[in-house]
Subunit: 341 residues, 2 copies
DNA sequence: TATTAGCACTCGTTTCTTTTGAGTGCTAAC
DNA sequence: GTTAGCACTCAAAAGAAACGAGTGCTAATA
């Protein structure tokens, strides 16, 4: 059986209606509120076909139809209408271009949650592809050296290194120069213990003490690789009865709190990255058990070369895909532009 | 009417039973499972008295009794039995004494939540009473100076300062010495713009450029004053039917996410600080609307002079106060000891 | 051949009624 | 002062009945 234009229209009408109401849609409703001018009986025949094709399902015998995951997929892939959709509050926020990226992102997540009525998440741009810009060791007291590492985009890391013996000013200065000349401009990912070993060799360093310090620096650069995820609007899940029952809600809340499952989702969307940078996961496509009744829309934004972060919107399967996708598209571009200026 | 020993015993029995089951307690239950050897009729008479005194209430005519807030208060104030209660996992964790206080605290919150089956929150020690230990300005590139500020307990702050003109090495070095000699050992709270102005004067600095840098340093020290609160085990609220209905759960989740309401609670307990450092808020005593059906037990710990943080456990009013209070007491001492070593 | 009116049937939802049982308060006896 | 006994209350559980949205199928229609 094939999907002719009429079937498409009916399917679209069913989905549109279901997205709004959340109730199974009957043939009579479609017959009345569509410009197809067909009786409910005809619609019933067509619906029967659509069901056979696996695009819609009946929750029980005497109920209307609701879209299946396959139906949603078809809808998302071929039936979305694009609209420019800006959230003016966001525009203003981005103009201010706060100093602290972290704060800005948290704010974005919050405003997005309030405006869409879905839960949102956002990750700061990952740093591992980021280039090292500046590195400094300073003595804080006799046995402690502070390593400060600055990367492109002014991402700053600190690490306290404990040394057994006093390290004199001269050695410290030498180390600073050595490290800066050898590591500057490299991206975090390229720097590792082996590389540091090579530097040691090249510089002819044999002192155990200095070796230890260098190792600690390498550790510091690698550390903290776990990307932080901020969430907002978690309570929005209670707006949708299909997510609000105790078991489901509890599981979802846990997922949001634990975050590392969300991390998988983020990584997934960073990898798959389609041309638009927007990705839609429906139900099981999220690969997260607790989200099997949810859909997630993610957008990948770039704040500079190799510094990619992800925004996600999490809602029920019957989320307003048109609104969410186009809002995210606009926001993504706004964020991308932020760096270019 | 006055509360004689028998009435106390009966009240205690009612509360103990209710804490366990969450069901209204009837006279028959008390008669059977107490060593008072009284018939249910006698218990009924006593219960009637207790109700008149406002210590217990009846949800409806033909139901058993449940403790009122006043009843809980009496119980918490006078009937708790102390036990040493350690969570061995915590002990091990604390022994490791992780480098990163923040990570450690998050872990503590999590373990505590898993072990008690309540929601938990924890704040890092506030820094404003904390003493400045080390301060350094370094040039990252032509127009950017990085200020690194280290306080007692190795609390590190960074701030990027944008300068319009190039600042030569010599000036930078001079500034570093000036700042360190003048500010070291002072606590963050004492340092402000006025103070910096005084230093400028004393040092005879008239350059606008240097003035700006100093102001930025003062700003950096003050900034970030908002205390961060970490929560864990939010989903535990679903274990208690009296909190798990949609409206209440949604409100609570929001409170945990927004956090600033929790902040009030934290400040409150920092101020009121009783001898033990443990504080119990029952129902409305929390002063937070969404927590009117909850109780909160807080503990104030000290990681050094003036560096006080707070741990909180949030559960239903019928939480296991004995367990929670004594667990927190033990944990508090463990944390307090952590610094002394 | 495609569409539609008509109708019997299904089944979740709502509403109302009945039953059950835990628990009380009161009274009279111990 | 304590207790047995009993009538009474009321939420919750169980059952029964009515409702109605929606379907599938058949036969008539264009």
């Amino acid at each position: 059986m094939q999907l002719d234009e009429r079937k498409r229209k009916i399917l679209q009408a069913i989905i549109r209606n279901y997205l709004e109401t959340g109730e199974p849609v009957g043939s009579r409703t479609i017959s009345k509120y569509t410009d197809l001018n067909l009786s409910s009986a005809t619609i019933r025949n067509e619906m029967s076909d659509l069901e056979e094709m696996g695009l819609i399902v009946q929750p029980h015998t005497s109920a209307g139809r609701i879209p299946s995951d396959k139906g949603y997929r078809l809808y998302v892939d071929t039936m979305l209408e694009e609209k420019e959709r800006e959230i003016t509050e966001l525009k203003e926020m981005l103009l201010e271009k706060e100093e602290k990226t972290e704060q800005l992102l948290k704010q974005v997540a919050k405003v997005l949650a309030v405006n869409t009525n879905y839960a949102t998440m956002i990750t700061a741009p990952s740093t591992h592809r980021n280039k090292l810009k500046f590195l400094q060791l300073s003595r804080v007291d006799k046995h402690q050296i502070l390593a400060v590492i600055v990367a492109e985009g002014n991402v700053i890391k600190n690490s306290m290194i404990r040394v057994r013996e006093y390290l004199d000013d001269e050695t410290l200065l030498k180390l600073n120069i050595l490290l800066n000349t050898n590591l500057n401009g490299l991206c975090m990912e390229e720097i590792n213990l082996g590389m540091i070993a090579a530097i040691k060799q090249k510089a002819g360093i044999h002192s155990d003490l200095i070796g230890e310090v260098l190792d600690a620096v390498a550790e510091a650069i690698k550390a903290d690789e776990d990307l932080e995820i901020y969430t907002s609007g978690t309570n929005n899940i209670f707006r949708y009865p299909e997510l609000a029952d105790q078991q489901r809600a509890s599981d979802l809340i846990t997922t949001f709190e634990e975050k590392q499952l969300l991390g998988h989702l983020v990584e997934q969307s960073l990898e798959e990255k389609p041309e638009t940078g927007i990705q839609v996961y429906i139900g099981d496509e999220t690969r997260v058990q607790s989200m099997k009744d949810c859909s997630v829309v993610t957008a990948t934004y770039e704040l500079g070369e190799g510094m990619r972060g992800t925004i996600g919107i999490i809602g029920p399967k019957r989320m307003d895909y048109e609104k969410v996708v186009s809002t995210l598209k606009t926001l993504k571009h706004q964020l991308d532009d932020l760096y270019k200026k």
